[in-house]
Subunit: 747 residues, 2 copies
């Protein structure tokens, strides 16, 4: 990539961003689009926007900036607030780093005149050498890169002399970044811990705080039902605080019927709406919609849809009821939810060892009903562990063997290759503008599309592990994705082909990876700067403008949706999607930290990424997205550890980099990764367990104020497919499942 394509890339990104911003300003003012741009507020029952519609087009910026953490918590939950703590911590790290590094390092490098000539002489060699270390198409041509070189190439090369006193400035910079990171992380951990405690302590009723998940229940003893077994076990141990239990059932069959029924109900509503709409003035009796009963409605007998659906519904309702009864009575699994009459009792029970054999009666704190993965609960102890091992093995294989397609794609997407493989594109590619844009973007776009493929696969794998909650699955996916992005994108691109061609060297001397990283980094600075810029300009531009959901919504609204429910479904905004968002942010932190010393010019780009991200996502969190679960900040330790991991990667890279420069005082950097690991250890010792469990002192306050409505707590956990439509639904369920007399369970 020569200098002009670097600038082109930046400018194009910026132009796209400006266009997207304008689009957003224009589109979001149209009332018909408000469900797309203000979905969260609408679902919360608020007005889409306050004040008049013809307000200042940049009002959203003011609103985002002036919103408090409490606003975020009330509109989007603790998890979102924690995500903003993460964003602002990352922003803080980069701002503080930049404040020292930019004024310190740029002049130091720029004024080192006596090496400029030298730098010119060597850098060509260096780049030729480094060529094979970078992706085939990512090259920095020195010819046009005068200005750029002033900023980062020179910074790199000016520090060539083995004992240059100026290198000390870079060493101090490394220390500064490390300490800033640790200090801000420490403060953030305290803050998040407070947020979590406040949320857990809040007086509002959270059903999950009264329940625990019980797994690995041993075989039912002779002459007892599963229910009796569980009840007697917990009543013996917790005579005062046990309320009742709910045995997990195999709902596959009943769920199928339930969904079929719901499907016909929707279809009926749709058909009725169509029928209503067909009653025009000219044809007041309307046209009754018809459909075919065969495959995809394409073949088979043609029937009147309304009659057909009504028949089907009448047929399925009793079928559902009988299946519900069968499920509750006969499809009980070796897993249950157990309810207690106080938060402290439930938390105590969940954290305490109950059974002598740890592969029986495994207890964990319950999560919200909506995020429990019911079908995973009955998976047995050893099966879970084996599944986990299998998944880890698959993930490791995936991480390492994705290298091969990445290399293949990046080889394929050079222009020369494209022209050779797809010769009909030749005339188009010869146009200078197209050529420059493509040259600037192709590798990055290939990479981004590539990375978009993976998360679903990782989420599937993670759920296969037997994890019991959605939020845990998201954390698991995020972790796997993080390792993937860091290893493949960052290290993969940097060390590039050499890792495989010289695989034997690496095997023999693992230390050489560090020095490869040290040598390979400088060559890829421009690539990563464009990568970061693309991410924030185009990525956040698309995020804010929500073009794709908007188009999809309008298409659906026009051609498919007939009922209110269908329209609501069409604009359902979804959540922030931490599983991919967090690892992507982590990748940016890793990249920016690693380049902060080598090419400090990347820092403003990092600041822009997190600043813009904070602003735009603040708007999206307040107005668009609806969280799909609440884990009270359990994502934080995960983020924290990975920021520290990024820091350690950065420190080791610097060690390799200074080592490559033959700077004898590079050894002064050795304490840094050790310090960072100690820091991570202390943090996990001090904070972690209160994230994986609920601390009693937090739960206890304000307790005893009032006795909660235990029956409603119990009802909250009944899966929808087992809820009967009759009024006495829950009671029926209870009677069928519980066999506990009311007198016993009253508190």
């Amino acid at each position: 990539m020569d200098f002009s394509s670097f600038i082109t890339s930046l400018v194009t990104s910026f132009v796209i961003f400006v266009i997207l911003m304008l689009l957003f300003t224009w589109l979001s003012r149209k009332p018909s689009n408000s469900v797309i741009y203000y979905s969260n507020r609408i679902l919360k029952g608020l007005e889409p926007w306050e004040g008049s519609r013809t307000r200042n087009p940049f009002a959203w910026i003011k609103e985002a900036l002036s919103s408090s953490e409490a606003d975020i918590i009330s509109l989007s939950g603790v998890d979102t607030a924690v995500y903003f703590v993460f964003l602002s911590t990352a922003l803080g790290i980069l701002v503080f780093s930049g404040v020292l590094l930019l004024p310190l390092l740029l002049p130091v490098a720029a004024t080192d005149n006596n090496v400029i000539a030298h730098s010119h002489a060597t850098s060509n060699n260096t780049f030729n050498d480094l060529d094979k270390l970078s992706m085939g198409n990512v090259k920095i041509s020195i010819k046009g890169a005068w200005k750029l070189e002033l900023h980062f190439c020179r910074v790199r090369d000016s520090i060539s002399p083995a004992k240059s006193p100026r290198l000390w400035a870079f060493l101090v910079g490394t220390y500064w970044v490390s300490f800033v990171t640790m200090y801000l992380l420490w403060k953030a951990y305290h803050h998040v811990s407070d947020l979590r405690a406040a949320a857990l302590n809040a007086a509002e009723l959270k059903p999950e705080q009264y329940a625990i998940i019980v797994r690995d229940i041993p075989a039912v003893p002779q002459g007892k039902t599963r229910k009796e077994q569980i009840d007697s076990y917990f009543r013996t141990i917790h005579p005062e605080t046990f309320y009742r239990s709910m045995v997990v059932t195999d709902n596959k069959q009943v769920n199928k019927i339930y969904e079929e029924l719901e499907g016909y109900k929707k279809k009926l509503a749709h058909a009725e709406a169509v029928f209503e709409a067909s009653k025009t003035a000219s044809k007041p009796e309307g046209t009754r919609p018809t459909n075919k009963t065969g495959f995809l409605g394409l073949v088979g007998e043609k029937v009147d849809t309304i009659t057909y659906c009504n028949e089907k519904i009448d047929e399925l309702v009793p079928k559902l009821e009988s299946e519900q009864k069968i499920t509750i009575r006969e499809k009980q699994q070796g897993s249950a939810l157990v309810f207690f009459n106080s938060r402290v009792a439930a938390a105590s029970a969940a954290q305490t060892l109950h059974a002598r054999m740890l592969d029986t009666w495994t207890l964990t704190e319950a999560a919200e009903p909506r995020q429990i993965i019911w079908e995973n609960l009955p998976i047995k102890f050893y099966a879970r562990h084996m599944r986990q091992d299998i998944v880890y093995a698959i993930v490791v294989l995936t991480i390492f063997f994705y290298m091969i397609p990445i290399g293949f794609i990046s080889g394929l997407t050079t222009l020369a290759n494209l022209m050779r493989i797809l010769p009909f594109l030749k005339p188009v590619l010869k146009i200078v503008v197209v050529r420059t844009v493509l040259e600037a973007y192709l590798p990055q776009i290939a990479l981004i599309i590539f990375l978009a493929l993976l998360p679903m696969f990782l989420m599937l794998l993670t759920k296969f592990e037997g994890i019991s909650t959605e939020s845990h699955a998201v954390r698991g996916t995020s972790g796997k994705y993080f390792y993937f992005t860091v290893l493949n994108v960052f290290i993969g691109v940097t060390v590039g082909g050499t890792l495989f061609t010289s695989f034997k060297t690496v095997q023999k001397e693992p230390k050489s990876v560090v020095s490869m990283l040290g040598k390979g980094l400088p060559a890829n600075a421009t690539f990563f700067i464009t990568f970061v810029a693309l991410k924030f300009f185009v990525g956040y531009g698309l995020e804010l403008s929500r073009l794709i959901p908007l188009v999809i919504f309008h298409l659906k609204n026009k051609y498919l949706c007939k009922t209110e429910a269908e329209i609501k479904e069409a604009w359902a905004p979804g959540d922030l999607g931490y599983a991919t968002r967090v690892p992507n942010d982590m990748l940016i932190i890793t990249i920016v930290l690693c380049y902060s010393i080598i090419a400090p010019i990347i820092i403003p780009f990092g600041v822009a990424y997190f600043g813009l991200g904070w602003l735009i996502l603040r708007n999206q969190a307040l107005k668009v997205y609806v969280p799909s679960y609440e884990s009270y900040g359990r994502m934080w330790p995960h983020m924290h550890t990975r920021i520290v991991a990024a820091l350690v990667i950065y420190q080791i890279t610097m060690l390799g980099y200074f080592g490559a420069k033959k700077f004898v005082y590079a050894a002064f950097l050795v304490p840094l990764p050790i310090l960072a690991i100690i820091f991570a250890y202390i943090c996990s010792k001090k904070f972690y367990r209160s994230f994986s469990h609920d601390a009693l002192e937090v739960l206890v306050q304000d307790e005893a104020k009032e006795t909660p409505d235990l029956a409603s707590i119990f009802r909250a956990f009944i899966p929808p497919c087992l809820k009967s439509e009759k009024f006495d639904a829950a009671d029926q369920f209870e009677d069928a499942v519980s066999h506990v007399s009311k007198s016993e369970s009253s508190v």
Copy 2:
């Protein structure tokens, strides 16, 4: 060591053993010695022996063999029973291994005629090569080792051909030993878990089951006492089950006064006894004993001892009382014991996260009052972690740098060296018998004395870590000692000098340690066989005969002891001393396992070690030793893990050994260590937590039968130096400490 000194060594060991056995038979029948040979029974208030005194001299063997596990538990506790499970598991592993290996491997090796000549030719070379791998003085001369060679040297050398099908027998043997070990360990873990559960479940009152240890209590808030802070914290969280708390105090001062007072009391009793004894018929008024008040009673003013002691006691009693009050009121520390009104409540509280910040309010289950290390309780969270790191660093240094003195000593103790350094011994050393005996024993004795130096040092280090109970400290010491013995004795002796001379090779290629081990082992077979034989013949002979305690007791009894209390102190038997006993047994298992294939003849020696050990220690446990604490088998996971570690060392050694033989199918051994590690992992997942914590289902049974006497539980934890002699001692303490009105704490 030539063949004759090997036989001499065995015969001498056996002779010493027979002599010690005869001595035991003769000495233990004398009534005056019964306090030495039957101390546990006497302290338990039983008759020293059942039946007449002139019984069968081998009756103890019958008694040991017929004693049940229940007898052991009632006379010596669960920990002792668990130790016997360990011994019998080790015995079982070796017996089962021997049953297959001896008939399988010895004939296979012995009949491999076509390699005998070859073996002769090469083994001389081999030994010359291996010379430098073994301790300088441990040499096997092939000349006289014909018979021996039949058993193990040949076994070793006969398998030289790279693809000998006979090697398969050895491979099968390795698998057999591994599976036998894992099967027996699995059964043993189940059994020990049952033992522990039964003991914890027992109805008898164990004060420690109602208490928890609280450490890292934060600073006292303004306007509250420490006591109020703790009480209000736990009463808020556990309003129903909290009984009361006991703040840990700094007892250094009061303890000093208390011990001084106790010293004078003893001295007074002694003086009175001496005075009584001096009233002979010839001198009915007797001689009042006198002493000097200065240093060690050697200098200073001469006073009448009885009067002097009485004065001192009168002086110290009020001093103690006032110091007790000051201690209780003013020397409170940031640590406490908290008592609950049920076992389940205490166990629940101990296992549950209470505070949001994990470096405050650290809770653990309490141990017996007698084994709590009070002065360690107030050590703060981070101080504990730092101390632990420091201790680990010191231990690692100790383990690696003890190699140097070991090498030095073993170099010093060759006869040639001895004669050179101490020339006056020359005439003695020239006597053939002395020479042979010394040659056979010197290195082993040097090693054994050497190993005896370490445990006290390791125990000190372990206690410095800030561990809160004696039993935990013993486990910690045992673990450190295990690593020491395995690394220094086993690997050190085997790989010997080479490890240091070729240290750089090792650093570069860690794999070479495995192959060194494989090559170095065969040369040291005789050394280790004599080592095992010495351990069991002489070690257990001394153990049974208790010669040293007997001599010390009789000396003290004759010259020093005048009062009953003094005599009782003189024969106090102590406990089994797991801190050194367990690692020594572990070393034997490691050695025997590692040689089981190379020189299967070692297996009978191993069987003899554990068989004889079981028998003799059974006798000692039933009749002699008094356990100093009870941890309900918490030692077991520790032993289990280390047996698995020994197994893995064995498997890796075999891998190295087969590798050194260039046996191409050695790769079939690779799954074994992996399997063993998975086995260890499964065991720890399934069982471990119920050893580190009490499972509620175990505690709950038989609960609610009766309310325990909580006041007496509380009193059991008052340290002796704070107990006043007055009748209302405990109440006084309670009033001073508690400020809790009786009505509040009644359950």
